[in-house]
Every structure is written in structure tokens, then in C-alpha cells.
């Protein structure tokens, strides 16, 4: 059995697909701490844009939507996500076209589930992300998502905040999307020191006031609240802190 170790980028994954395609007994993974047994071989994949491009072209020719499926899969925090994506590609190639509709096929089921989880978290955080205004009028949003969705969110907010600069900071992965009002740049970002605008507290307090007054206290349903808004997101919500 061969392990193709990848670095988490899409290009590296597609390179691995190119290298591993003919190998019947292998998996592709970005997990560095895999337990190796006897007869296991590890292959550190080095990104080769040429190979990656060829795999992409092949897949695009068979199914125009597949690249987006795979891109979402690779953002997931699921272990073995690369392998699910690999199986999915093999299925598309052996079928000679899109397989999304094969809703009874185990690989398609797994793909759909992971994709839905990533997409679902991105959708949730379009609502739960909270910006604070700093002294220079830049909006800053720290958060800690399960999946690597910062670039998806950045595109969403750039359309909304057209022309107004913001930073979305994934503090767990130490990456940030910076938007200067024109374009989005992804960058490494450790700890950030923020000087808040003098109005920040005032609006946070009004928001907390609003949150408390719209609740209908005679109809408590905390379980449902937690179901829709999981506790792990609360530490970034002014109304829940």
C-alpha cells in the first residue's frame, strides 16, 4: 500500500491524482500522522502544475461541475477527504461523465455528505461571522471554523461591502483574507492587535439589547437555538459572550 502525502493545496492534490492513478493499492492524504504498518510506502508528492492541469482538463471535459465539488471537498476537515475526492474522480472517469445523480453509490453519498457539510458551514458563517470596526474604519472578523472556508466567505463579503476594506481571520489555521476595497489577498496571520473604533462598544451594546428584546421569553426553546447555532461559534458573537 502506498501513501501519497499531499500538502493540502488543490494543485498538489491533482498532481497526486496524476501519479497515483494507475496504482491499484494506494491512498492520497494530507494527514501527517498516519499510522504506518509493514509493507507501507510513503510518497511525498511535489506539486507539478503541468500534471495538475492535465488532470483538471480531463475532469472538466467529463463534468463541468466536478471541479467545484472537489474544491469544496478539499476544504473539509474530514480525514480521508482527499481519498474520497480521488475515488470520486475515478468514478467520473470510469463512468465517462457526471456521476452526481448516482445517489445510491457509496462514493457519491460520501462526497455529497462532505460537500454539504463544508457548504453548510460556509452558509452558516455568512450569518454568524461578526465584524468589529477598528479605529481606521477597517472591519475585522476573527473566527475559528471547522472547515477551511475563509476564501468562500471573503468572496461573499467583498460583494456586500464593495469598496470597504475588511479582514477575515481564521485564528485556528492562522490565515486571513484581506480585502482592501479592490481585491482579496489570502495571507498567513498569527495574532492580531486591534484598536477598536470609539463607536464599537455602543453598537455592540445596542445589538445585545436588540437580541434580548426580540426573544419571546414565554416560549423557551434553547435546544433548538443550540441546534441551529452551535455553542462552538458563540465565543465570537457579542450577543452570546
Amino acid at each position: 500500500m502506498t501513501y501519497y502525502l499531499v500538502d493540502g493545496s488543490e494543485d498538489c492534490f491533482y498532481t497526486a491524482v496524476f501519479d497515483a492513478y494507475k496504482n491499484k493499492d494506494c491512498i492520497i492524504t494530507s494527514e501527517r500522522d498516519v499510522q504506518l504498518g509493514l509493507g507501507f510506502e510513503v510518497f511525498d508528492v511535489v506539486t507539478d502544475e503541468n500534471k495538475a492541469e492535465r488532470v483538471r482538463a480531463k475532469i472538466n471535459a467529463l463534468d463541468r461541475g466536478a471541479a467545484e465539488d472537489i474544491s469544496l471537498l478539499l476544504k473539509s476537515n474530514a480525514s480521508l477527504k482527499e481519498n474520497v475526492a480521488f475515488e470520486y474522480i475515478k468514478l467520473i472517469i470510469s463512468n465517462g461523465g457526471a456521476v452526481r445523480a448516482m445517489q445510491a453509490n457509496p462514493t457519491v453519498i460520501e462526497m455529497t455528505q462532505i460537500r454539504t457539510r463544508v457548504y453548510g458551514e460556509a452558509h452558516k458563517l455568512k450569518g454568524f461571522l461578526r465584524f468589529m470596526e477598528n479605529a481606521d474604519g477597517v472591519m475585522y472578523a476573527p473566527y475559528s471554523p471547522d472547515n477551511d472556508i475563509t476564501d468562500i466567505l471573503a468572496v461573499h463579503f467583498a460583494a456586500r461591502f464593495n469598496g470597504r476594506p475588511f479582514v477575515i481571520h481564521d485564528i485556528k489555521r492562522k490565515i486571513a483574507a484581506m480585502y482592501d476595497g479592490n481585491e482579496i489577498v489570502m495571507t498567513y496571520a498569527g495574532d492580531a492587535e486591534i484598536y477598536l473604533s470609539e463607536y464599537e462598544d455602543y453598537f455592540q451594546n445596542l445589538w445585545k439589547q436588540y437580541y434580548n428584546s426580540v426573544n419571546i421569553a414565554s416560549r423557551p426553546h434553547e435546544k433548538q437555538m443550540r441546534g441551529y447555532m452551535p455553542v462552538r461559534y458563540w465565543k465570537f458573537l457579542p450577543e452570546k459572550r
Binding site: 445523480a101 448516482m102 452558516k124 461578526r130 439589547q209 433548538q224 450577543e239
Partner: protein, 418 residues
Amino acid sequence: MLDAERLAILTESAKYDVSCSSSGSKRANVKGGLGNASVGGICHSFTPDGRCISLLKILMSNDCQYDCEYCPNRRSADVKRASVTPDEICELVINFYKRNYIEGLFLSSAVFTSPNRTMELLTDTVIKLRKIYNFNGYIHLKGIPHADDALIMRAAKFVDRMSFNIELPSEKSLKLLAPQKTRESLILPMKKLSTALTYDKENKVRRGGVIPAGQTTQMIIGASPESDGQILRLTEALYRKMGLKRVYYSSYIPVVESPKLPTVGAGLLREHRLYQADWLIRFYGFDVSEIVGEGENLSPDYDPKCAWAMRNMHLFPVEINTAPLEMLLRVPGIGARGAQRILSARRFCALDFDNLAKMRIILKRAKHFITCKGKFYGSESGNAVKAALMLEGIKETREQLSMFSCSSVALSALSGEI
């Protein structure tokens, strides 16, 4: 600037309007503007009552000239009164929106001074928000009954959605409980808007059209004696004749003491059943006459789809691999998405019971109504089916209760999938 006390007064009483949806519009941003609308709607927070916050729901004023029996802000009530200026609202919206607290504004008001003056001020506010503050996020505006058509149609050009609340399911109850509102004052503007929407659609008006997210309305359930059958007939007419996007049901909560009102609330189960029936009318191809008789109420024990299936056992079981979509949709335990999944999966291979289990079909319920490759897995005897479904239904209802209160979530999570 707006202070916390006025904010509390003006949002406390706006909260009973259940509609919080921000869906149905895809208004785009413009260069330098703030905001856009997301077709599917977005929830920004959830309160401890389990409801979603999507919009800033606020009244322009709670100083009402009208005297609706059930309303805490009615003229004869002894409550603190407050109001805000258009600029105060605009600033609050912009600052909440920038911080991503909200998807937009739900602006409503008590009728202060006159209906026209009130409607004018509401309209001024939304125009200001769009033109001066450059806001392109979602706006839902409540219409004021008895205001001039011209004012209403002007406002409709700047907002995503409008609603006139029907309040009570019959004219008689309206007279008794909301004496200053007449049926005409609510229905006529709804008709006007509906005609304008049809005009825009037929003439493919894109820019400058009215309310892209359509109109909704709300009824209070259980403050007056109408049956579910009557309520749902009204609902069906509102959807089919007036093209409403949503009808909301708000089960009556006694906040005001009055000899004309019941002392106990209607309870969430009734509201829940109405939403389920509403869903059947909108998405599952049911006519109201199949669901419930005119003077009857929905069964508390089964959801309305189960109840219908049990009355029509002669149509079942249906074969999963050949049944048409309309029939799959009528099987208890198969939701709209489940039915689509079955349709697409069976093109590739004949489905058996195990396949269905993996496709998130609720088999505990569906098994009594289907065969897979000719095989039947349910109970043969009608009574055993009833007992099984009832047990299952009770458990599920408990879990789902009040899930519907927010439509953005409701669209995906809710009771609809029955």
C-alpha cells in the same frame, strides 16, 4: 443617536410579527454601495426561543391611534411610547449591517397621527436608506391599512418585500377585535401589489420593478373561533389567486387581558399542523379539500400527510422504482428532496430497501406505503399501521415543534419534509 431604552420599546413589540425571512430577492450591490440580498436568506443569530434573527425588526413608533384588542400598543393601553427618526433608523441599519448582525431591515409602525402620514414617513425612511445611505441589503416594509395607494406603490419600488397582515381569518373576527381595520383596507392593497407584480413579470421589468421578493401576510391563530379548514381555504386563495410568497401563522399568546379574548394561548401544536398543511398546498400538489373539511380541524395525532394517506390506503403501496413524482411526494416519510433523490438514483439502478435507508428516507413511516422491487416491508393491518405512525409521529412532533418560526431555516429544516 438612538438610545437603548427606545430601541427596547420599539423592538419589543415588533417581535410578534413572525416573518423574519430575508429570502427571495437577489438585489445586487452597486459600486461603493453597501449590501446585497441573498436569494436563500441568511440567519444571523438565534434567540433562546429558538427563532432566527435575520432582520432588524423595528417600529417607527408605537404610539397607535387604533385600538386592536390583542395589541399591547393599542390606543387604550398604558405603555411607554417612543418613536425614532428616519435618520436614526438608517444609521442603526448601516452599522448593524456592517458588523454582519443583520441581513436587512423589517420596518413597521403603529398608526400614529394618520395612516397617510405614517406611510409617508415609512416610505421616506426606505428611500433615504436606498438613495442617501446607498444601502442595497434586504428591506421588508409593513404596509399601513387605509393609506393611499399612491404612497404604497411608491414604497413598493424601493423595498424587497411588503406585507399587509390579514390578522384574523374572518371579517367578523376582524370587526370584533380590530375595529378600525376593514377587510378592504387589507385586501385591496394586496391586490394592487399583486397586479403590479404580474405586470412586471409579464413585461419582464428588471430595474425599478416592485417588491422582487413578493408579499407575505400573517394571521393570528386561536384568538378567534375559525376552524383550520376555514383558515387553510383562505390560505389557498392567497397563494393561488394572489400569488403570495408566504402565509405566516402566529398562535395567539395572551399578552393583553380582555373579555373578548381567550385567556389561554393556542399552543404550538396547532400552529405546527397548519404549517405542515400549508407546505402540502405549496410544494406537494395538494388541494385544501384533500387535507381538511371546511369546518374541521387538523388532527393533532398525525401530520396532515399521514392523515391523508391513511384515508386513502387504497392508493398504496406504490412501487418505489416506477411511481411517478406526484405519487412519491404523497408517501409519508418521503420529502420533496427525498423524492428527487429517488428519481435520479433509480435511473442508474433499481432501488432496494437498503438503498433507501442510505438516502435519508424516513423508512419507519414510508415502509407502510411502498414496495421496493415488489417487496413490501410494512404492516399489513390498517390498525397496526395507525398505531406505529402515531407513536412515531408523537416523537417527531415533539422534536419539530416550533421549528417553523423562522422561514429562512424553515425552508430547509422544517416540518415540510413529511
